[in-house]
Amino acid sequence: MKWWIINALCWLAALPACAAPAADSLRGDTAQRRPTFYERRTQHLRSSWARLVPNMGSIHFYGGVGLVSLGTGWHYGRKDQWETEVLLGFVPKYESDHNKATLTLKQRFVPWRIGLSSRWAVEPLTAGCFVNTIFGEDFWARQPSRYPKNYYGFIPKLRTSIFIGQRLRYNIPSRNRIFWKSISAYYELSTCDLYLISALPNRRVRLGDILTLAFGLRLEIF
């Protein structure tokens, strides 16, 4: 068991860690020597790229981006209040001809984190926006050339949405970690651009009509 924990942690920390052995072996050969420009340069390059390693993942259900979506992303910021995520979603065909895939780019703001105990914490508000693109020949990003300019004044392929939500977070004690540092359950209520412009001039389209619910698990790796 212990071996697996070490192994998993090594893998998850793969890129930031890979600079360390190199430095160690150098230190063994030439003790106390100041790193050369080349060494500092490669070290800098490694640590810069290491920051791009995704440090969280997610499993996301519904929410207008797919029946189920798998996400990977980054949490960052001085108070760890920002998150950026990329999700790949699956849309079953239902009454249409094909199953479809979607891709989502999502930005989230998490202003508060309230600890309930050493393990449990509540994030009472998450808010943000996302852009979703759906693949398939029925959805154009640029109006086909046969149409006069601005024949349809919108882009079927691209939806922009805003959302708010909440999360409950469980911090896994370090001795029990296998893959993840923490797991959060969340839900989000969103609405998209076309729903908003449908609801605004119409009393008959109510708030409940334009809301979309999503729920899922956020998995923090490190």
Partner: protein, 269 residues
């Protein structure tokens, strides 16, 4: 602050059970509720009008994203129009989104007379064509109201880049062949009229010749250009009546009388 979370989870659960918030995608074509609306309406119309030699019906069109106006039209038709049925000449949606169809259906379902819907060019966007087919049925269909035959056609050829049989002459041929012997009059309804940007204008004249072979072609119905007007595109005595969009707050009422006469009214609501 600690108490907030259970409360909001509870309200989210309420929402979940309360309405259709679990959406896969705005274009998911996941249709819930009423389906095959045209087929059931046709059954009601044919049963109610069987054996009659007069018919009275209303026409609405281009109700996309005008839900309040549509609701007003529905209420007015229910209260004042006294019609056998209602024809919607297409463009129920602006973007072809699945929820738009559901919202528009919610308004139209309040109509007391049976109603049939034609497909508009906006209804073809994204997966809209699939949703239309599921919710309403085949975009080309016909029915008889007493001695009058109604032909409803998809004429949005431009949406398919002219690669699909629109208007479908095969459908017209089969429909003409299947025509009952009692048919005295015919009305042809479509969304986009000949010579409009959506129509396959290469066959506009051929189309007109074909529909003139129907017994007693009375007139044609259309929408698309959002104004209530009438015109005679082929100078052959066949009038096209166009119904304005819901924003114009008008619908049309036609009465085909037993003596072969026609009464045409534009109703403001």
């Amino acid at each position: 602050m600690e108490n907030l979370f259970p409360i909001s989870v509870f309200s989210a659960a309420l929402l979940l059970t309360g309405c259709d918030v679990l959406e896969v995608h705005p274009y998911d074509a996941h249709v819930e509720g009423e389906r095959h609306i045209n087929a059931r309406a046709v059954e009601r119309i044919e049963a109610a009008c069987a054996g009659r030699d007069s018919v009275r019906f209303a026409v609405v069109s281009d109700t996309q994203r005008w839900y309040d106006e549509t609701a007003a039209a529905v209420a007015h038709i229910n209260a004042h129009a006294d019609v056998d049925f209602v024809i919607h000449c297409g463009d129920l949606t602006d973007f072809g989104l699945t929820r738009e169809f559901e919202w528009m259906r919610r308004e139209l379902e309040r109509l007391e007379p049976p109603y049939v819907c034609l497909i508009g060019n906006h209804d073809c966007l994204g997966t809209g064509g699939d949703v239309f087919r599921t919710m309403f049925g085949d975009p080309n269909f016909s029915f008889d109201a007493g001695d009058t035959h109604f032909v409803c056609l998809n004429t949005n050829a431009f949406e398919y880049d002219y690669s699909v049989a629109v208007p479908d002459f095969g459908f017209l041929r089969d429909d003409l062949e299947a025509l009952g012997p009692d048919t005295r009059r015919t009305v042809v309804a479509m969304h986009a009229m000949p010579f409009s940007d959506q129509f396959n204008n290469n066959v506009a004249e051929v189309f007109q010749e074909k529909i003139r072979t129907y017994p007693g072609l009375q007139f044609c119905l259309c929408g698309h250009q959002h104004t209530t007007t009438q015109f005679e595109p082929f100078d052959d005595g066949v009038v096209y009546y166009e119904c304005g969009s819901a924003a114009k707050r008008q619908y049309l009422v036609f009465t085909l009388t037993a003596d072969g006469g026609l009464k045409y009214e534009v109703v403001d609501y």
